[in-house]
Symmetry: C2
Subunit: 407 residues, 2 copies
């Protein structure tokens, strides 16, 4: 059995690194805080004899030898980076649960058949460098290394430059080691498990998601002298778009359409100047790719309507398309089996959030385990799961990993 | 006759100070650029023997002696500060036209009965420090000196602190000198004169305007996992407000309602986080105060609707109310007379923009002269009036000033 107390202590210790005023964490990818968090993990792993290797995009791999080191490893992992006002569990739990499993096996001197691998993927959140899951995507061959290194944050700092500064760029070839299986434990980040009174979600797949940058250009003009009929107000146009698209998603009776505008910036704002240019981000999600196509088409037709109504110029750029993913049956079964064996109340479910498992699933048998989180809140400093919930998820991860490793 | 060529040269020279890439100027109030612009004027005035005095809020006064220096002066003036991407004429014309009039009188050694005063009012635009027309309002007793000095910009720098750094705080008592009359020449900043093929607008008053700061607080949550029905999206709420209020103004058949949201900021934005907090500015205008009351009431009822629909918390703060103003009949008549005497095509009109003349009119007989500007565009780097239009306006200013000074 894993040690829930020890797990909780590592979670709380990690949360101190980049701690925010209201009880969350700020470790945006490849910042000094993110690096300090990774450094802490490297120390902890060294304490049980696991040493780190890393690849060209800063993914960290910690190996625990097995009886048959010629076999591909059974892996677990997630990410340590957070949102700018992120919670203490998103990503972190999946990594520190892996650490706790390794520590438990170390304590009991258990040797698995296959070697084990604990992995920390770089820049999962996509908040500093878009898109999300960038380095697991690179590992899986979805993005090239060059493409990833060239991505820039808002300040124009490249991923490659930021990574160099961490000193965590390594020589492990991209895509190596190949994995026999990959399991990721994560908080649900939504309300379903809590509302249904369940302890574990066996995640069978992930919804589709598309990200866009959008620029709307109108004309700067005087707020007091410009008749409404003469205006080309870029912010009023953006507001129309947001309101319409939000309503389209909110009115979807299936509840499966999701629309979020996370960032919006007015260029050279001034109270008495009609905004000339607005840039914003658009996040569209759906559990069916064809419905996501429809939602994207609605987005474009609403843009056309803006051009018509406001005489603005719109420049949308789709920068990410992550299609709906179905996880591996075998991995799903090993989680489900572990859950049943302990008599835990669970359900199968889809994930609304993207996870590194999405891309890893392209190159290795993969599935995920969810635990409930309070009020379904995530990407918020108030994010919370209880010590018991974290421990239970970690126990299921341990059991399923052992199953995969000895299979 | 004034020298249109010389006037144009001073306009273009002033535009070089804080010049922006697309042909405009950036001399936000009390920045080094604004100070450099004022310094330039001080030099030019010294060249004709006019020396500067200033008051506790940095208003600059240049006196030209008259035959009867016991009489209150006849004054002209405007402002030299600009929007962050402002034009070359807004405010500047009224000041440099005054300079041109003084130079013309100097060249011809004309002595007026009353002394003359050329005035540069501090922070007219209200872009860096809200509200607008702050220092003419202080001169007129609408704002106290302490209140004005304590106003802060976005960075938390106070007006008082910024003024100290310019070295232009002076010892002239607030409200002094008292003025026998005040005339302000300005570009129209709207399309009316150009569309009607007229050369001069005789401005009989200014519409009412109200400024608000608004904070909308929702909850941060995950863009992918949070069902639409569970969201408290502060940006979606802001968008609804903007779209509704904009439509209310646009649908007003009189065309007299104006609504502008110039600034909008998302707190800690991230693409995949539902915005928790949005701050924005609201600018409402109307030519009738009672209709402005109605517009403000609509604003509040739309806010109530947001609370209902999005479960957000709204905190509006009205930070400025400038009621509808009617200028002085005598001053209007002296402008109208000057315009007619030269056979210029003109009309009487209201101003949609606020001007220093609004507050000065509370303590001295006041009126304004407008000239057309291209496409009615202002608060935009593309703002333009021709050398001929500027010269004609300056001639009318000169004639009307002489009338006021010798009356
Ligand atoms: N798990 C998680 O929050 N991932 C970030 C990517 C996304 O926006 O879904
Ligand atoms: N003239 C001018 O642009 N004044 C600024 C105050 C306003 O917004 O009307």
């Amino acid at each position: 059995s894993i040690d829930g107390q020890r797990l909780w202590s590592s979670l709380m210790a990690m949360a101190e690194i980049g701690a925010t005023p209201n009880g969350g964490s700020n470790r945006l990818a490849l910042t000094p805080e993110d690096t300090a968090g990774r450094q802490q993990l490297i120390e902890w792993c060294a304490g049980i004899g696991c040493h780190v290797r890393s690849d060209a995009v800063g993914n960290l791999f910690f190996r625990r030898p097995g009886a048959r080191d010629d076999l591909e490893p059974a892996a677990v992992g997630s990410h340590l980076d957070t949102q700018p006002k992120g919670g203490r569990f998103d990503g972190v739990l999946g990594v520190l649960a892996g650490l706790e499993v390794f520590r438990t096996l170390h304590d009991h001197q258990i040797v698995t058949e296959r070697p084990l691998e604990l992995i920390v993927w770089t820049n999962e959140e996509g908040s500093r460098f878009a898109p999300a899951m960038m380095a697991s995507g690179t590992y899986a061959g979805v993005f090239t290394v060059d493409e990833t290194l060239a991505r820039q944050d808002e300040q124009g700092i490249s991923f490659g430059q930021a990574l160099e500064e961490t000193g965590m760029k390594g020589s492990l070839p991209i895509g190596k080691p190949r994995l026999a299986s990959f399991l990721e434990l994560h908080i649900e980040q939504g309300p379903v498990l809590e509302e249904e009174g369940l302890d574990i979600g066996v995640v069978t797949g992930v919804q589709g998601m598309r990200w866009f940058d959008l620029t709307i250009e109108g004309n700067a003009a005087h707020a007091g002298t410009t008749p409404m009929a003469y205006r080309h107000d870029a912010l009023a146009a953006a507001a129309r778009l947001i309101d319409r698209l939000y309503a389209i998603a909110a009115d979807d009776p299936s509840g499966d359409s999701k629309v979020t505008f996370g960032c919006l910036e007015v260029d050279t704002p001034s109270r008495n100047v009609i905004p000339a240019q607005v840039t914003l981000t658009v996040d569209l999600r759906h559990v069916h790719d064809d419905q996501l196509d429809t939602l994207e088409a609605r987005f474009y037709s609403e843009l056309d309507a803006l051009v018509e109504a406001f005489g603005v110029v719109v420049t949308p750029q789709r920068l990410w398309n992550s299609p709906v993913v179905a996880f591996n049956d075998h991995c799903i079964a090993s989680i489900e089996h572990a859950t049943r064996a302990r008599g835990i109340a669970y359900r199968r479910m889809l994930s609304g959030a993207g996870h590194d498992a999405v891309y890893v699933s392209r190159v290795a048998p993969t599935a995920m385990i969810f635990i409930p989180c309070r009020d379904g809140i995530s990407h918020n400093e108030a994010e919370y799961s209880t010590p018991e919930q974290c421990a239970l998820g970690t126990q299921v991860l341990c059991d399923a990993l052992l199953h995969n490793a000895n299979d």
